[in-house]
């Protein structure tokens, strides 16, 4: 780790102001950032911790919406949403290990947009809205490729607003070493449409598998997925844990399993 300045503002406004001075990074749980710093792979001048910012934590449900404060940890979400939206609770409860879940936050995960992270699948799969200090961003506009989002340099996520699905499920196939998603598929049945979002698989980060959405819109059953060709293997990540064809195959398998889990 290199030396850096550490600030812990009390409000979102102060945090944004702090981000505008010098080369600064937001610390929102730090489950990716801190290991990166320890390995000296990044050298920000300043870390702006959101841990002291009021109003970023907590979950509010009502009017067919679940709003999760960006600073809410995975562990809290896993615990408190188990009844209201079991698919989100299960996803949160399967992130990393207990230490990661009790430190890492939903906002931190989304801003980082790791191509193998779980939350992007849920946010895109449910068509959620990412709320920031200055605007609201639709999930379809938010994710823009590997580790890239619609966020501006000094923009801070404050909450994520999920529509309440009729049914939803997340089926994740673990990368054996890291236990990030080798392929994770979030399937949601919403009013009038079905959404299918895939993480872990694509060279371009989380994506919607539109062929599956169309097929499932017509017939919400695993058999509808069975008839589809998997997404193009050449667009999938290839590494030690699986070449593109394997990941493409798993997208199909995990989609079927998520549909089956929706009941």
């Amino acid at each position: 780790m290199y030396a850096f300045e550490f600030v812990k503002p009390k409000t979102v406004e102060e945090a944004v102001a702090a981000l505008r001075e010098g080369e600064a990074k937001v610390l929102a749980g730090g489950q990716t950032l801190i290991p990166t710093l320890k390995q000296r792979l990044a050298a920000p001048e300043k870390l702006v911790s959101l841990a002291g910012v009021e109003g970023l934590r907590g979950i509010r449900t009502g009017d067919g919406v679940v709003e999760i404060g960006a600073g809410t940890t995975h562990a809290v979400i896993a615990r408190e949403l188990a009844g209201a939206v079991p698919a989100l609770a299960a996803l949160a409860g399967d992130i990393g290990d207990p230490a990661v879940r009790n430190r890492g936050t939903i906002g931190g995960s989304l801003a980082n947009n790791d191509p193998s992270a779980d939350w992007p699948a849920a946010v895109l799969g449910l068509g959620a809205t990412v709320v920031t200090d200055r605007r609201e961003i639709a999930a379809d506009d938010f994710f823009q490729g590997l580790f890239t989002t619609a966020l501006e340099e000094d923009e801070i996520i404050t909450a994520v607003r999920f529509p309440m699905p009729k049914t939803a499920a997340y089926a994740k196939f673990d990368q054996p070493a890291s236990r990030f998603a080798l392929v994770g598929v979030f399937v949601a049945r919403l009013d009038g449409n079905v959404r299918v979002a895939v993480t872990g698989a694509s060279e371009n980060g989380v994506f919607r598998w539109q062929a599956a959405e169309a097929a499932l819109g017509a017939d919400f059953a695993p058999a509808a997925v069975e008839a589809l060709a998997p997404p193009p293997a050449e667009e999938m990540i290839s590494d030690l844990h699986g070449a593109g064809d394997y990941r493409a195959h798993l997208v199909k398998v995990m989609t079927k399993r998520a549909v089956a889990a929706c009941g």
């Binding site: 780790m1 390995q39 000296r40 196939f173 054996p176 070493a177 890291s178 080798l182 030690l240 844990h241 699986g242 070449a243 394997y246 195959h249 798993l250 398998v253």
Partner: protein
């Protein structure tokens, strides 16, 4: 009722009090006054010529005390290799210099180029980053077959090729084996890889060098399994420090699995540099450094051929292996694929003719050396895999083909065609016990239940043998060892009767502090809490060879028994004097000396007190005091064996393997503490299942380690494992050591990989998928790819 003390009692580990409450004292917990910190600048290329090292700017940075390069080590020896192998042509193995800091060339990613000593670890690291390094990158050799090819780049320019040695066992049998295989009705062939593993002890390595100018004494605190061996190797071969001026301390050590046997460059560096800079010098490895500097394990590529008759009797076996040494010879590297591997190819079977050939190869990778099991897992894996394949090809039951070829209980001592004499064993008994515990009869019903859920269920069987308790010094000397392999103990009885045992072996997870007292408690009849075990410091324990090869209780424990026998003999003389009886009439039981046939007695503590307060004492015949040392050199290896079974479910859609059950029946001879033995087996099984399903070191073609962190190197987690069924009730006590013990540390890691792979192949075959073999680790993508290729 199980015993509550002494040999055979499942008493709780006394070590756990400090380990589970964070009160252990590991090497990194030691901080010496005035200590400085070293950061090693390591090569990020696998093979290259060092053109220039610019240290000027770095040396001027804040806190920097001194920067070392190879030039500072011109008068220092290289790291020695402790075992010499002789090739088939009679020539000694190629033994290139293994420098402390890279000299002229770098030969693997992670090799030390320079070392920066500074006031803080951060300052040392900052300065190391500021060193200007110019390396002319050369083509790397990674693949062993390619390394032996014509015109391959040479890892060591001064050697004729990348071949370290070409070894045969038994060379005289070579042609007979060839002929038997040529003429056999059935020959079953398998080509397989025993993949490279990173040892991943929970505690990374640490070294602290200290030098006392006033006394000219050096001290090295290090994470070692064998501090005396480090003192001998480093003192005599590297730094030229005589033993009486060099102390090596290995305090609490958090796991070794072999990787902390070896003498490493960092240890020699810290010891040497402490004198040069006049400050203690400390290094704590990061996990990332561990991946590229701890000696790695396995890495064999093998072709095995088994010849059988029509009834499935084994006629002959031929095994040809390429063994990766990495860039340099680590301390015991040459012994692993040879004497710890080739000699085990008879397994538990009567195969009359065996020939083993091993070619060891230098590559631009991290050195390879012993890792839990060391050679024996590689032998067991190929043998048990080819037997399974043979059973399938001959249409025989995998249990039956093994039983048919077992060495029978009345054939011991049994001399194998590969240089070992098994003293005892009963392979039929362990297999029978396995059949009972694993409920083999119920398998078909379980398979159908799995099939109903879309899963392919398979059953894997494996029988292993290992040679432990390494070993008779005169024998290993003939085989090329450059050290003896006895062990030692000093039993010091204190005046009031408590006992301190100084042992030459070392515990880094083996529970010696709990189990060794059980032996003495049994012998004398005093409680375990009166007995303390001291180890890990050359200043206070007799010269011993340390802990590896499941040797602690068999060799170190035997030395302790011998020393305790001497104590008892002397104490009986004292008791005879106190009781005014003849020495021959004295009996020791439950901590009391009695005169046979009378009620006259004297307590243990009264005798020990008399030894140190010798007022009423036969001083003219007997020295005062009660302290004895024994060195024990075993007459033979010990031969633990066992029969394992597991059931797996394969998800044919994803290739994922789940281990549903695992039964391990081991014959460890006598058992000192069954709970500790269970734990040792559990750990071994976890490691072996890790090898079978998850772990692998992968280098790319440039010699970069792709799996250099836990993001890509998959360690087994609790939920990867089933609840184990472990049994060690089949006991054929070792015939040549006083405790009848065989050792249990490596069994699980040796026996489990072929059990798992046999089960997965069985699952696929029963599912109608014609797959003969999949190389470990059986990751989901590999299993899925094999299924797809077969359909």
């Amino acid at each position: 009722m199980p015993k509550d003390h002494g040999i055979g009692a499942p008493i709780r580990r006394r070590e756990d009090l400090r380990f589970l409450t964070g009160s252990g004292r590991y090497t990194d917990d030691i901080n010496l006054p005035g200590q400085a910190h070293v950061h090693f600048l390591r090569s990020d290329v696998a093979h290259g010529r060092i053109k220039r090292l610019g240290t000027g700017a770095a040396a001027a940075m804040d806190g920097v005390i001194r920067i070392f390069t190879a030039r500072d080590f011109e008068n220092v020896g290289g790291l020695p290799c402790g075992w010499q192998i002789t090739s088939r042509d009679g020539n000694p193995m190629a033994e290139p210099k293994h420098p402390i800091l890279a000299e002229g060339k770098v030969r693997h990613v992670g090799e030390i180029i320079a070392a920066v000593i500074a006031e803080t670890p951060e300052q040392a690291r900052d300065a190391a980053e500021a060193i200007e390094v110019e390396i002319e990158e050369l083509p790397a050799v990674i693949d062993m077959a390619a390394a032996l090819g014509e015109g391959a780049p040479k890892v060591h320019d001064d050697l004729p090729s990348n071949l370290c040695f070409d070894w045969g066992l038994v060379e005289e049998n070579r042609e007979k084996v060839d002929e038997a295989i040529r003429n056999a009705p059935h020959v079953v062939t398998l080509e397989l890889v025993n993949q490279r593993l990173a040892p991943n002890a929970m505690e990374p390595r640490v070294a602290i060098g200290d030098y006392d100018k006033a006394t000219d004494e050096h001290t090295l605190y290090t994470t070692s399994q064998n501090p005396h061996v480090i003192r001998l190797l480093m003192g005599a071969f590297v730094l030229g420090i005589p033993e009486h001026k060099l102390r090596v301390v290995a305090p609490d050590v958090g796991g070794g699995f072999g990787s902390k046997i070896f003498h490493y460059a960092e240890e020699a560096f810290c010891t040497y540099a402490a004198k040069v800079v006049g400050r203690p010098v400390k290094w704590t490895s990061s996990r990332s450094e561990a991946f590229m500097s701890d000696a790695q394990g396995r890495d064999h590529v093998t072709k095995i051929e088994l010849a059988l008759d029509e009834e499935g009797h084994f006629l002959a076996l031929r095994s040809e292996t390429l063994a990766n040494m990495g860039a340099y010879l680590s301390t015991f590297a040459p012994a692993v694929p040879t004497w710890l591997h080739g000699t085990l190819m008879a397994g538990t079977y009567r195969t009359p003719l065996i020939y083993v050939n091993v070619k060891a190869v230098f590559t631009n990778t991290v050195p390879v050396d012993a890792y839990r099991g060391a050679g024996r897992p590689e032998a067991t894996f190929q043998l048990e895999r080819v037997i399974d394949k043979a059973a399938r090809e001959l249409g025989m039951d995998p249990v039956e083909i093994r039983r048919r070829n077992f060495i029978n209980p009345d054939q011991f001592p049994y001399e194998t065609p590969v240089a070992l004499v098994y003293d005892t064993g009963n392979y039929h008994a362990t297999l029978e016990k396995l059949e009972e515990l694993a409920d083999l009869e119920g398998f078909e019903a379980r398979r159908q239940e799995s099939a109903a859920r879309g899963k392919l269920r398979g059953l894997g069987i494996n029988c292993y043998i290992e040679a432990c308790g390494i070993a008779p010094s005169n024998l290993v000397g003939q085989l090329g060892a450059r050290a003896g392999l006895y062990d030692s103990a000093t039993v010091r009885v204190n005046p009031t009767g408590s006992i301190t045992v100084h042992t030459g072996v070392h515990s880094h997870g083996q529970s010696h502090e709990t189990t060794f007292p059980q032996v003495i408690a049994e012998m004398i009849g005093i409680p375990e809490d009166q007995i303390e075990i001291v180890h890990g410091d050359t200043a206070n324990s007799p010269m011993g060879m340390g802990t590896y090869g499941s040797r602690s209780i068999a060799v170190g424990g035997s030395a302790m028994v011998r020393a305790t026998e001497k104590i008892i003999a002397k104490a009986k003389k004292i008791a005879a004097h106190l009781l005014e009886a003849s020495e021959g009439d004295i009996e020791l039981k439950d901590g009391k000396f009695t005169v046979k046939g009378t009620d006259r007695e004297v307590a243990w503590a009264d005798v020990t007190l008399a030894a140190y307060v010798p007022h009423n004492y036969p001083l003219e015949e007997l020295e005062p005091g009660l302290e004895e040392t024994s060195f024990y050199d075993p007459a033979n290896f010990t031969f633990p064996s066992g029969a394992y079974a597991c059931e797996v479910e394969v998800d044919p859609e994803t290739g994922k393997v789940e281990v549903c059950s695992f039964v391990a029946v081991d014959d460890f001879g006598n058992v000192i503490n069954p709970m500790v033995v269970d734990g040792q087996v559990h750990g071994g099984l976890a490691q072996g299942i890790g090898q079978a399903l998850l772990e692998q070191c992968v280098y790319d073609e440039n010699g970069q380690l792709v799996t250099a962190s836990y993001m890509d190197y998959a360690m087994p987690r609790a939920d990867d494992l089933p609840s184990f069924t472990v049994d060690h009730s089949c006991q054929t006590p070792c015939t040549h050591n006083p405790l009848g013990v065989k050792g249990c540390g490596e069994a699980g890691a040796i026996g489990s990989p072929p059990t798992i792979v046999n089960a997965v192949i069985d699952a696929l075959q029963r599912g109608g998928i014609e797959v003969d073999h999949i190389d470990m680790p059986l990751t989901p993508v590999r299993v899925w790819s094999a299924i797809r290729a077969a359909s």
